[in-house]
Symmetry: C2
DNA sequence: TAAAAATACTCCATAGGTATTTTAT
DNA sequence: ATAAAATACCTATGGAGTATTTTTA
C-alpha cells in the first residue's frame, strides 16, 4: 500500500468517474483503472461497483473512503508539524535552574519565550545548582541556569547576569541610616549564611571576609535566601545575599550596598555543546535579549 | 510522500542505526540513506542528528516518529476494515419495514442477524407499507419488508411468511365458545377496519366479505391493529387482523379462526435486483432461515 | 584504524503514456 | 452508436543494488 494509491482511490471515490478522476490527478485513465484494480486485489474486496455507465462505491469502499481521507489528512498534518518543529515553532524544551535564577532573570526570559513560541511546551525543573550541570550532560534538560565556571568542555556557558551582594539587616539595626556598609564593619555581626555544600556563594563570601581580615561568626545556615531574610527579620543576625533577592520585596528588613572585596556573582545559561535543536537557539536568543535589558535596568 | 518512506523512517527511528534498520527492512544501507535524505528535504527539516558513530532523532524527528507510527497503524487498520467489509463482516445495512412485520417475523430475523454479524450496524426504519418499495428503489434502504406483489422488475421479492386472518371479538361475545367462526356469521357485526389507503389487507377483507355475500358495516377505521384490538375490547365491534398480531398477547379480547373465502396474507422481503452487497446476501440468508423455523412453528 | 554513513553508478521494476478493445446503454 | 472502462503494449522515472569514498571516534 502506498499513499499514491490511496490518493487515487479517494479522488475516484469523490468523482465516481474514471476519466474525470484521472484528469484531476493529472494522469490518464488507464493507469488509474489499473491502480484501482491492484488496490482491490491487495485488499481482497471490490471497492467500486462499476459498469461502463456508472461507478459507485461498495460498502467496503465507503468505509475505506472515510479512513483513507482521514489518513491523507493526518499525513499532511504530520508533515506540517515536523516542518514547523524543524523551524523551532513547535516542540518541547526542558529547562533546569537553581533557586537563585528565579528572582528576576528566569521569569522575564520565560515570559518572552512563551510570547514568541506559544506552541512550544516548556518543561521546567528546579534543581540544586550542582545538579544542573549533570542534567545538561545527561540530556535530561536542554538548557540550564547555573553559576559559572561550569568546567566541562562538552557544555557551553554564557554569563547572563552579574550582580553584587547586598547586606540584609534588621530594621532597627545600627546600619539603618548607613547608605552602604563596608564588609569589615560586619566583622562582629552574627552571620546567617548559605549552606556550604551546594552554593559557591558560601565560598565567595568566606573568601572575601578573610580578605577583609576576619572570620565571620556563623549562627545559622540555610539554602534559601527567603529563610535567611526571615531570620534577619527575627533578629538572629545579618546576612549577605545576591542583589536580585530584593525583587521578592521583603518587608521588615533593610538591604544595604556592600563596599569591600566582595566580587560580583554571576548567573550563566548553559547547554550541551552539540545540541543543534533550533528551539535551543531560539531560547538562547531570548535569554540574551532579556539579560541585556535586565543589565541596563540594574 | 509515500508510505514506504514513512516505514523506512519509523524503522530507522527505532533502530537508530542505518545498517541495522536497512537489514530489518530487507534493503541495503545506501537506499535507506537516500530515502531519509529525500524525506528530510521534502519536509525541510533534519529528522536525525547523525555522525558516523551515532544516530539520534531531532525534535522534529521525534514528533514525526509518533505521527508516522500512528499513520502506519491506521493504514493497516483501514485495510483490514475494508477487507472485512468485503467479506460482509462489518458495515451498515438499512432495513425498512411496515408495522405488520414487527410482530413476530422481524424481531427474530434481527436477533439472529445481530448474533451472526455483531459488527454490522443495522439502520431500522418503520415506514408505511407503500413507501417500502420506493425506499428500495431509491436506495434509501438495502432491504425492505412488504406485502407482495411488488410490481417492479428492478426489485426482487421473496415471500417469507403466509398467515391467516383471525377474528378479534370481545370476551363477552356470543362467539366466545366457538372454536372458529365462519366469515358470513360476521355479516351483521360492526366492523373495525384497516384504513383503505395504505393496506392491501383492506382490499383482501372487503373482497372476501363480498364473496361471502355481505357488505361489512364499518364503524371505525385505523391503521394500527393494536388500536383495533383496543376498540374491540371497548365493545365497539369486531375486527379481522393477521394472525401474528396475537403475538402482542392482548388481554380482554378473544382471537378466533375464520373459515370461509379469506385468503392467506403474505409478508415478503424485497431488495434491489442488483445490489451485490455481501451484507444483503447474509441478511437474506438469515431471513430465510428465520422464516422457515417460524412457518413450522405456526 | 575501523565502523558506519554518504556518494557514484548501474540496472530493472513498475508507474504512466498511447493505442485499442470491450461493453452496456 | 457512443461513452467509458478494461486491456495490450511501450517508455522512462526512480528505487534498489554494488562498489567506493568520506568521516570521526
Amino acid at each position: 500500500m502506498e499513499l499514491k494509491t490511496l490518493r487515487y482511490f479517494v479522488t475516484l471515490g469523490e468523482e465516481l468517474h474514471f476519466g474525470r478522476a484521472a484528469r484531476r490527478l493529472h494522469i490518464s485513465q488507464p493507469p488509474l483503472s489499473r491502480q484501482i484494480s491492484r488496490l482491490e486485489e491487495e485488499i481482497g474486496a471490490k471497492l467500486f461497483y462499476r459498469t461502463q455507465r456508472h461507478v459507485e462505491l461498495t460498502p467496503a469502499g465507503e468505509l475505506l473512503q472515510r479512513d483513507a481521507s482521514a489518513i491523507l489528512a493526518n499525513v499532511a498534518e504530520a508533515m506540517n508539524t515536523a516542518r514547523r518543529a524543524g523551524r523551532g515553532e513547535v516542540g518541547k524544551l526542558s529547562v533546569g535552574f537553581f533557586l537563585g535564577a528565579t528572582y528576576t532573570l528566569l521569569p522575564r526570559i520565560l515570559q518572552n519565550f512563551r510570547a514568541q513560541h506559544p506552541e512550544v511546551k516548556l518543561v521546567l525543573q528546579e534543581m540544586g545548582i550542582t545538579q544542573v550541570l549533570d542534567a545538561i550532560i545527561s540530556g535530561e534538560i536542554d538548557v540550564g541556569f547555573l553559576r559559572p565556571p561550569s568546567a566541562d568542555p562538552a557544555v557551553l556557558t554564557e554569563v547572563l547576569l552579574r550582580e553584587p551582594f547586598v547586606a540584609v539587616v534588621p530594621q532597627n539595626s545600627r546600619f539603618r541610616t548607613a547608605k552602604s556598609i563596608s564588609l569589615k564593619d560586619l566583622a562582629d555581626e552574627p552571620f546567617i549564611m548559605y549552606t556550604p555544600g551546594n552554593s559557591i556563594l558560601y565560598t565567595q563570601i568566606m573568601t572575601a571576609c578573610h580578605q577583609a581580615g576576619f572570620q565571620p561568626r556563623i549562627v545559622q545556615e540555610t539554602r534559601r535566601p527567603i529563610t535567611m531574610i526571615s531570620l534577619v527579620r527575627a533578629g538572629a543576625g545579618i546576612a549577605l545575599v545576591t542583589s536580585s533577592v530584593q525583587a521578592t520585596g521583603n518587608k521588615g528588613v533593610l538591604f544595604r550596598k556592600i563596599t569591600g572585596p566582595l566580587p560580583m556573582t554571576e548567573i550563566a545559561v548553559a547547554w550541551r555543546a552539540r545540541n543543534p535543536s533550533p528551539l535551543l537557539q531560539s531560547f538562547l536568543k531570548v535569554a540574551r535579549q532579556a539579560a541585556r535589558r535586565k543589565s541596563t535596568a540594574t
